[in-house]
C-alpha cells in the first residue's frame, strides 16, 4: 500500500450493482473517467469485463506451455537416461533406446506437469490463497459470491478523492456505496 492510501485511511470505495450489465457499463464509465486502480467483482465470469479494466493478456497459457515442455522433455529424458546409461538392461534383444515404448509415459508426464502448472500458475498470478482481503470487511460483500456485483475504486488510484469518487460511484448505481476499511 502506498503512503497515500494510509493517509486516506481506507482501502477504497465499493459500489454495489444488481446486474452484470450494470457492472460492465459502470466499469467502462469509470475507466473512461480516468480511474486506473479499480477492480470489478462478480459471482460468475462476465465476458469483456476484464478487458474493460484494461486486462487483456495473461501469462497462464505460457506457464502451461512451459510446464508441458518440462514434463514431456523431462519425462523422455528420464526414460532415455535410465534405459541407456544408468540401468541398461537387454530385454529380448530390443535396442536400449527403444523410444516408441517411451512415448506413453512421456505423454502422461506432459499432461501431468502442464495441468499442475495450470492450477498453480492460475493461483499464483491471482495471488491466491489470500485468506483475508480488505473487501471482506464490507459485510455486504459476501453477496459478491452469490447474486450481487461490485465495483471497487481503490484509494491508491491517483484520481481517487474521497468525496468526488463517492459521488461518481453513486451516480453509477442505484444501490449503496460503501467504504472499504483497510
Amino acid at each position: 500500500m502506498s503512503l497515500f492510501a494510509k493517509k486516506q485511511g481506507i482501502y477504497g470505495l465499493v459500489a454495489e450493482f444488481e446486474g452484470a450489465d450494470a457492472l460492465l457499463e459502470a466499469t467502462k464509465r469509470a475507466v473512461r473517467e480516468g480511474y486506473r486502480r479499480l477492480e470489478a467483482y462478480s459471482p460468475f465470469p462476465i465476458d469483456d469485463l476484464s478487458e474493460a479494466l484494461g486486462f487483456e493478456r495473461t501469462l497462464v497459457p505460457l506457464i502451461v506451455l512451459l510446464g508441458g515442455i518440462v514434463g514431456g522433455v523431462g519425462g523422455f529424458f528420464m526414460e532415455w537416461f535410465s534405459a541407456t546409461i544408468h540401468y541398461p538392461i537387454n530385454v529380448g534383444g530390443r535396442p536400449l533406446n527403444s523410444w516408441p515404448s517411451f512415448i506413453p509415459v512421456t505423454f502422461e508426464l506432459t499432461i501431468l506437469v502442464a495441468s499442475i502448472s495450470a492450477l498453480l500458475g492460475m493461483l499464483a498470478l491471482n495471488k491466491l490463497p489470500m485468506p483475508n482481503h480488505p473487501l471482506f470487511n464490507v459485510e455486504r460483500f459476501s453477496q459478491a459470491s452469490q447474486d450481487r456485483f461490485f465495483l471497487c475504486i481503490e484509494s491508491s488510484d491517483p484520481k481517487f478523492d474521497g468525496q468526488a469518487t463517492r459521488q461518481f460511484l453513486e451516480s453509477l448505481t442505484s444501490m449503496v456505496v460503501y467504504d472499504v476499511e483497510p
Binding site: I111, L119, P129, A144, S145, Q146
Partner: protein, 461 residues
C-alpha cells in the same frame, strides 16, 4: 421440511426441453444448491445409502486385512487365470471414471451447455471411481506394501521401472488421470466454495470453506485467468481421457494371448469406458435429483441426452464386438478361432450372452424417445449396462486366460468369498465417498448455473 416443499413446488414442472426450470435467479440457484449442504437435514435416503455404503466399506477393510495377512491365495486366482476379479474390477472402475472427464472436458470444448448441471458430480464420480480402480492393481501385487517400487525414485537398489512394460505405462496413466481429475474438479469448486463460505453460519464451517476457497473473491482479473486455466485444463484432459483407457487396453493387447492380442482394443476400450461411465452417471443422477428435488436443474433433457450418448457409445462397443469376432475368424489362426467359439459356446458362454444382452440389446431401447424420457426405463437400463460392462471385462480376462494354447494347463476360474467381498467393498467405498461429497460440497456447479441464467437473459433483476 417446508423449504423442500417450496422448492419442489417451484421447480417440479420443468419444461421438457429446458436445461433449467423457468424462474430461476442468481440467488435462487445459490440458495437451493447450497442449502442441500448447509441447512437441510440429510434425507432418509442419504442416511440409508450412506450406511449401506459404509457397511460395505467396512467389509472391504476386513477383506483387505485378510488379504494382507494371508496373501492373494485367498482369492480365486491361480495359474493360468492369474488376473481374476482384481483386474476385472480395476478395468470396470477406471472405465466408469471416464464419463466425468468426458462431460467436464470434452463437452466443454464442444460448448455443450447441458453439461453444466451434471459436470460437478460426474467429476466427483470420476475421482472416486479412479480411487477404487487404483486400489485393485496394488492389492493384486502380492506385496502391496512395496507399491512404490512402481515409481521412478532414487532407490538404494539402483533399479528403474521397466519403461517397455504396459503395466508401468498404466501406473503413469492412472496416477496422472487421478491427479488431473482432482485438479479439474478442485478448480471448478473454488468459486462455489467461496459461495459456501459466504453463506455458512457456523464459524468453524465458514473457516473450513474459507480455507478451501483460498480467499476467492470473484475479481474480474481473477475470473479471466481462471477461465483461461479451466479451458486449458479441458484441452489437456481431453487427450488424457482418451489415452487412459487406451493404455489400460495395452495391458492386454501387448500380450500374445488369443482374445487379447488385437488392434481394435484401444478405441473399443475407450468407447466401452464412456458407455459404462454414462450408465453410472444415470444410475446416480436419477435417485439424487428425485430425493433432493433437483429436477429443475437436472431436467428430462439431461437424461435424454445421456441416454443418446449411451446409445451412441453402445453402438461403438457393439461394433467392437463384431470386429473382434470378424478379425478373429479372418485371421485364420486356429487359436483365435477356438477362442471365439469358447467365448460363445464354452463353459462361460452364459456370461458372454449376458454381456451381449446388456451392452448391445438393452441400449437399443434408447432409439425411442419415450424410453429416453421414462425414468424407470433409464434407471433399469443404466443398471443393466453397469452390469454388462463388468461382465464384459470378466469375459475378456477370464475366458481368454482359462483356456490358452496348452490343453494340459486349462483350468476353470471360480471367485471366492473374498473376491466378492472386495468387489462389493469397493462399491461401498465408492458410495461412501460419493455420499460424503454430496453432504459436504455443492453437487452442482453454482457459478456455472448463474452464468447460464445470465446468458439466457431471463434474469434482469
Amino acid at each position: 421440511m417446508s423449504t423442500t416443499d417450496d422448492f419442489r413446488a417451484g421447480t417440479l414442472e420443468p419444461d421438457a426441453d429446458r436445461l433449467l426450470a423457468p424462474g430461476q435467479t442468481y440467488a435462487s440457484v445459490t440458495q437451493k444448491i447450497s442449502s442441500v449442504v448447509l441447512t437441510r437435514r440429510p434425507p432418509l435416503f442419504w442416511m440409508v445409502v450412506f450406511a449401506t455404503g459404509f457397511l460395505l466399506f467396512m467389509l472391504l477393510l476386513v477383506a483387505v486385512t485378510c488379504l494382507f495377512a494371508k496373501g492373494v491365495g485367498i482369492w480365486g486366482i491361480m495359474i493360468p487365470v492369474a488376473w481374476g476379479f482384481a483386474i476385472v474390477n480395476f478395468v470396470w472402475w477406471i472405465g466408469i471414471g471416464h464419463a466425468g472427464t468426458l462431460i467436464s472436458a470434452i463437452l466443454l470444448l464442444f460448448r455443450q451447455k447441458w453439461r453444466t448441471s451434471i459436470n460437478r458430480f460426474a467429476e466427483a464420480m470420476t475421482l472416486f471411481a479412479v480411487a477404487c480402480a487404483a486400489m485393485f492393481p496394488l492389492l493384486h501385487l502380492g506385496r502391496p506394501w512395496v507399491f512404490y517400487w512402481l515409481f521412478p525414485y532414487p532407490d538404494t537398489m539402483k533399479l528403474w521401472p521397466q519403461w517397455r512394460s504396459p503395466l508401468v505405462w498404466d501406473v503413469f496413466a492412472v496416477s496422472t488421470y487421478g491427479t488431473v481429475s482432482f485438479i479439474f474438479w478442485y478448480i471448478g469448486l473454488i468459486p462455489d466454495l467461496a459461495s459456501m463460505r459466504d453463506r455458512a453460519r457456523h464459524p468453524l464451517v465458514k473457516v473450513i470453506y474459507g480455507i478451501l476457497s483460498m480467499g476467492w473473491r470473484g475479481a474480474a482479473r481473477h475470473w479471466h485467468r481462471y477461465r483461461v486455466a479451466y479451458l486449458l485444463l479441458a484441452g489437456l484432459a481431453t487427450p488424457l481421457v482418451l489415452s487412459v483407457h487406451s493404455v489400460v487396453s495395452l495391458d492386454f493387447t501387448i500380450a500374445i494371448l488369443p482374445g487379447w492380442h488385437s488392434t481394435i482394443f484401444p478405441p473399443y476400450f475407450v468407447a466401452g469406458a464412456i458407455f459404462s461411465g454414462f450408465a453410472m452417471v444415470l444410475t446416480l443422477a436419477i435417485p439424487l435429483r428425485k430425493v433432493y428435488g433437483l429436477e429443475g436443474f437436472i431436467t428430462a433433457r439431461h437424461l435424454d441426452n445421456m441416454a443418446q450418448l449411451l446409445l451412441a457409445t453402445g453402438l461403438m462397443v457393439a461394433y467392437g464386438y463384431v470386429m473382434e469376432t470378424f478379425m478373429g475368424w479372418y485371421s485364420g489362426n486356429r487359436f483365435e478361432i477356438f477362442e471365439l467359439v469358447t467365448r460363445a459356446l464354452g463353459p462361460y458362454a452364459f456370461w458372454y450372452w449376458v454381456l451381449i444382452f446388456c451392452n448391445v440389446l438393452v441400449p437399443q431401447v434408447f432409439w425411442f424417445r419415450s424410453a429416453r424420457r421414462s425414468i424407470p426405463v433409464l434407471f433399469i437400463g443404466s443398471l443393466l449396462v453397469n452390469l454388462g460392462m463388468w461382465v464384459e471385462r470378466f469375459v475378456i480376462i477370464v475366458v481368454s486366460l482359462n483356456r490358452d494354447f496348452m490343453t494340459s494347463s486349462w483350468r476353470m476360474y471360480f471367485p471366492t468369498f473374498w473376491d466378492w467381498a472386495t468387489l462389493s467393498g469397493s462399491i461401498g467405498l465408492f458410495l461412501t465417498l460419493m455420499f460424503l461429497f454430496i453432504r459436504v460440497l455443492p453437487a452442482i456447479s453454482i457459478f456455472e448455473l448463474r452464468e447460464m441464467i445470465h446468458e439466457e437473459g431471463g434474469h434482469r433483476q
